[in-house]
């Protein structure tokens, strides 16, 4: 096998070399100037052909791939993204079309011929001023639109937002929901134990942890129409919560808490209808290289149609504390279980 490959490569080199030799002999035979002139003409035509065929191919490809692209944004903020993306693509598309056309057209139009005299034109301050100012103005507009959306997307989450914590580890997502108290308790990385405390919840120090639900299957349950605030963390290396359908993404950094919030607008069931795909599922991708399992670090998002539906699901979940410690007598954690604690003094502890 490797001999065949070696032979093929050798043959390839020989062929190349022969082409080179043949072309050199042909040039000598036909006369160098003549060959140069005809090659010049050929290249000019090829450049023009490249422009026309390239533009056609780009358009054709665009049309053919549209059905494989993302469906409509599933978050309200993502809609802003979509319209801004569209505006930017139209604008850059126009610039792309004009500049590429000029480049290849000039190349074709001003190809060297016997008669042509190049036009000595070293500078023109007015022109240069013009194409400094116009891009500057266009960029200023883009910056303004961009920053308006940026500040919208990064603004503090509304108080009514559902709070969920999502923590990356090699190589899956851990998701924690607050229990009846509506608050997440403190975590401490030194308390992490893969057997019974994957997030290192500090049960002794913070009773708010007692009713927290931890989901290790990477399933994020949220509610259509209700803003959701994700508290993002990492146990080991940097990960990234990628939510392509919601047009969001945020790094999960060990030692630092990051957040994003958005308002889901399309439930999973609705999206199945929109995409005409009964298997449709919102996915969470890890978007920051995190090791050998990076490509398989998959989570999912279930967007419930109503709060009731979500509550129904939530009722079926068992707090982590109950699963791991409550029924075991040797438990090191306090015995009083799952009493909702609302201590507003400790409210900022999560930060």
């Amino acid at each position: 096998m490797s001999f065949i490959i070696f032979a093929l490569v050798a043959l390839f080199f020989v062929i190349i070399y022969q082409i080179a030799k043949a072309s050199e002999y042909a040039t000598t035979l036909r006369g160098e100037d003549k060959v140069r002139a005809s090659t010049n003409k050929l290249m000019a035509w090829l450049l023009l052909a490249f422009l026309v065929l390239g533009m056609y191919a780009a358009w054709h490809f665009h049309e053919s791939i549209l059905d494989k692209m993302l469906p409509v944004s599933a978050s309200a903020e993502g809609r802003e993204y979509d319209s801004m993306f569209k505006a930017t693509i139209i604008l850059t598309g126009i610039v792309f079309f004009i500049t590429q056309t000029l480049l290849f057209w000039f190349a074709f139009r001003y190809q060297s011929t016997e008669k042509r005299k190049p036009y000595f034109y070293p500078h023109n301050n007015k022109l240069e001023l013009l194409w400094t100012t116009i891009p500057a103005i266009v960029m200023a507009v883009l910056v303004m639109v961009g920053l308006k959306n940026w500040f919208l997307m990064t603004s503090p989450a509304p108080a009514s937002a559902q709070v969920v914590e999502i923590v990356g580890k090699q190589f899956n997502w851990l998701i924690r929901y607050p229990g009846a108290d509506g608050e997440l308790g403190r975590r401490n990385f030194r308390l992490i134990n893969d057997a019974n405390n994957v997030l290192g919840l500090d049960y002794k120090g913070d009773p708010r942890n007692l009713d927290d639900v931890v989901n290790q299957s990477g399933e994020l349950h949220i509610v259509k129409g209700r803003p959701v605030k994700l508290i993002i963390g990492s146990r080991d290396v940097i990960h990234d919560v990628g939510l392509p359908h919601f047009r969001y993404k945020m790094d999960a950094v060990p030692g630092i808490t990051t957040t994003i919030w958005f308002t889901p607008t399309v439930s999973t069931e609705e999206m199945k209808k929109i995409t005409k795909n009964p298997n449709f599922v919102y996915e969470i991708s890890c978007d920051q290289l995190c090791g050998k399992g990076h490509y398989s670090m998959r989570g999912t998002v279930i967007v419930h149609d109503t709060q009731e539906e979500f509550n129904e699901w939530m009722r079926k979940q068992t707090p982590d504390y109950v699963t791991n410690f409550a029924n075991k007598p040797a438990s090191p954690a306090p015995a009083n279980q799952a009493a909702p604690v609302t201590d507003s003094a400790k409210k900022t502890a999560m930060k």
């Binding site: 050199e24 930017t88 190049p118 036009y119 000595f120 940026w150 290396v237 630092i256 050998k292």
Partner: protein, 625 residues
């Protein structure tokens, strides 16, 4: 501003072999009077320098340039071959390729690439092409070759340091090359090597010995870049020939000058980032590490910040993009003007836009970190700065277009690549407007859109610039011409191939497909691109083989190419074409020419020529530029 450097003595080689000045004797008769004393002492004139000092430890900038070029080409083949390997995996994730096992051994048992080695391949592909090829191979080649020849100097300000610069690069290359063969594999944390992944040995196989070697190689590489860069800057500032004011410099020299300045200011920051990383890896410090539980235990580190590394890294990482781009810009300007038989349009605007890019390149780094959780306000500043950098880039593009407008265009091979450069620069540059705008980056970040963007704008277009430069200055380097037919075939395959590879990737990225995935087939959202990925892989493989055409052409032409008979084969105005066809050490046999005019006087010289070289005195009534 002009300096006269005829009296600079080229006695660098003395430093190497203890005071004998044999090496000096291939400098020209005019220079020899300076060495008269030496000649008398040793009584042997006109010796060819010893083989070792001529070809290996050479201090002649032209040889050092060739050393950089050929080392860079070796790396380019290795780096490109890696991309072929991982494209096989991406294109056909469910197939086995025996050839992978042949090349990679136990990393591809049964012809199936292991995920660990896939990540090692993408990491090394990035590292090699960005640093070893498009920084050392590109700047190293053209800054060394062109700066002394185009400013009218006999050599670099410090030929010895210049030699060291190459040998540090060579040592870095050896270390990096060795890292490919260590048992746990080469570094695999991405070319950015973000900690904690790169800092903790348990985090991934490549974070073991491979990462140690990677850091050592990169540290040596930084030293090489600094030695080279200081030399380039001091040569441009101090060693210009009589009449060569800064405003008469060719744009290649301007571009290489700013490239060197960017390198000098940003590489030390990278080095400091790496030193801290070495500390975290080996000495238990916590600069980048905090609250980590890995491999069943909590690490003692607290209080560090992985984001600090990202700031230090991107403070080089972004200017690095311009270190790669600027030489291409300079080369394209030169070649477009020469082959349009027209002056470059807006010389001063071109220089000022280079200044603008240089300054702004230091103020935009955090646009790589919009989704790292940084303060939104800080992010907004970087959005502004990033989109601002589009302005000088636009000015350059429009000036190139105006340069070819109403010219008399000769489509020789370098010209084709220069046109390809501009086309790629436009395509790749425009997508930067999406990524620089944080509200759009928040979706596009770390997707294939990013891959498409930077490959077009700094990968392919920098290569286009590099190829243009090689084809254009090959006659000066080797006294022979490269074959035209092969050159055209190389151009079209590369140009079309690159568009076919990277254009579709934009769509994958818009659809949210993350980069650096080993396999997409388990993902409901990304598996629909399977056939497209195979198509891209086929294009990548064809484009890779097209580069072999170039290699054959290059090496065959060194010995078999058509001999150059005209010392100025392109009808160019710059000084390098006033040297003999094969200039010796010292470049000009007689006195260094005096410069009377700017570098782009493409106009009727009154004798039927359509250009006036820089060393031709002004005619009566002609105004100096």
């Amino acid at each position: 501003m002009s300096t006269q450097n005829e009296h600079i003595v080229i006695d660098g080689p003395n430093l190497v072999h203890g005071g004998t000045s044999e090496v000096d004797h291939n400098v020209h008769p005019n220079d020899r009077d300076r060495h008269g004393a030496d000649d008398a002492l040793h009584g042997h004139a006109h010796h060819e320098p010893h083989f070792i000092f001529k070809y290996i430890f050479s201090q002649d900038h032209k040889y050092i340039a060739k050393q950089f070029l050929i080392t860079g080409m070796v790396w380019a083949i290795i780096g490109a071959l890696m991309s072929v390997f991982f494209r096989l995996q991406l294109g056909w994730p469910d197939k086995n390729f025996a050839i992978l096992e042949t090349f990679l051994g136990h990393w591809a048992k049964g012809g199936k690439l292991s995920p660990e080695f896939y990540y090692a391949l993408v990491t090394m592909h990035g590292t090699i092409l960005i640093f070893f090829v498009l920084t050392a191979g590109l700047s190293g080649t053209f800054a060394n070759f062109l700066i002394p020849l185009q400013v009218g100097a006999r050599d670099m300000a410090s030929p010895f340091m210049n030699m060291l610069s190459y040998w540090f690069f060579f040592t870095a290359s050896v270390v990096m090359f060795c890292s490919l063969f260590v048992q746990t594999g080469p570094a695999s944390g991405g070319w950015t090597s973000y900690p904690p992944l790169s800092a903790i040995r348990e985090a991934s196989l490549g974070s073991g010995t491979g990462m140690d070697l990677w850091l050592i190689a990169m540290a040596l590489f930084v030293v090489s870049t600094l030695l080279g860069g200081l030399n380039y800057v001091s040569t441009v500032l101090n060693m210009r020939t009589k009449g060569m004011s800064m405003t008469r410099l060719p744009l290649t020299v301007w571009a290489l000058f700013f490239t060197a300045i960017i390198g000098i200011l940003s590489f030390p920051v990278l080095l400091s980032g790496f030193v801290l990383l070495i500390f975290d890896r080996n000495f238990g410090t916590s600069f980048y590490l905090s609250e980590i539980f890995i491999n069943g235990r909590a690490l003692p580190h607290v209080g560090g910040s992985p984001i600090l590394y990202q700031h230090l890294f991107w403070f080089l990482g972004h200017p690095e993009v311009y270190i790669i781009m600027l030489p291409g810009m300079g080369i394209a300007s030169e070649i477009l003007s020469t082959n349009s038989r027209k002056p470059i349009f807006g010389y001063f605007a071109m220089v000022i836009s280079l200044v603008g890019i240089t300054v702004l390149s230091f103020l935009v780094w955090a646009h790589h970190m919009f989704v790292s959780g940084m303060s939104p306000f800080l992010g907004s500043i970087f959005v502004l700065m990033t989109l601002l950098i589009a302005v000088p880039s636009a000015v350059k593009t429009f000036n190139w277009l105006t340069t070819i407008w109403r010219g008399k265009l000769r489509f020789n091979v370098p010209m084709m690549f220069a046109i390809g450069f501009v086309s790629m620069f436009i395509s790749g540059g425009l997508t930067g407007i999406f990524l620089g705008n944080s509200a759009l980056d928040i979706h596009l970040h770390d997707t294939y859109f990013v891959i498409a963007h930077f490959h077009l704008v700094m990968g392919v277009s920098a290569f286009m610039g590099m190829f243009a430069g090689i084809y254009h200055w090959f006659p000066k380097m080797f006294g022979r011409q490269m074959n035209n037919t092969l050159g055209y075939i190389h151009f079209w395959l590369t140009f079309i191939g690159a568009y076919l590879i990277f254009w579709p990737m934009h769509y994958e990225g818009i659809a949210g497909m993350p980069r650096r995935y080993f396999d997409y087939s388990a993902w409901e959202s990304f598996k629909q691109f399977e056939s497209l990925n195979s198509f891209i892989s086929i294009c990548a493989i064809v484009t890779f083989f097209a580069q072999l055409i170039f290699l054959v052409n290059f090496f065959a032409s060194i010995w078999k190419g058509k001999k150059v008979t005209d010392p100025n084969p392109w009808g160019s105005t710059t000084l390098e074409w006033t040297t003999p066809i094969k200039p010796g050490h010292g470049n000009w046999p007689g006195e260094i020419p005096t410069v009377y005019r700017w570098a782009y006087d493409y106009k009727d010289d009154g004798n039927g020529n359509d250009f006036v070289p820089q060393n031709v005195p002004l005619r009566e009534g002609e105004e100096a530029h």
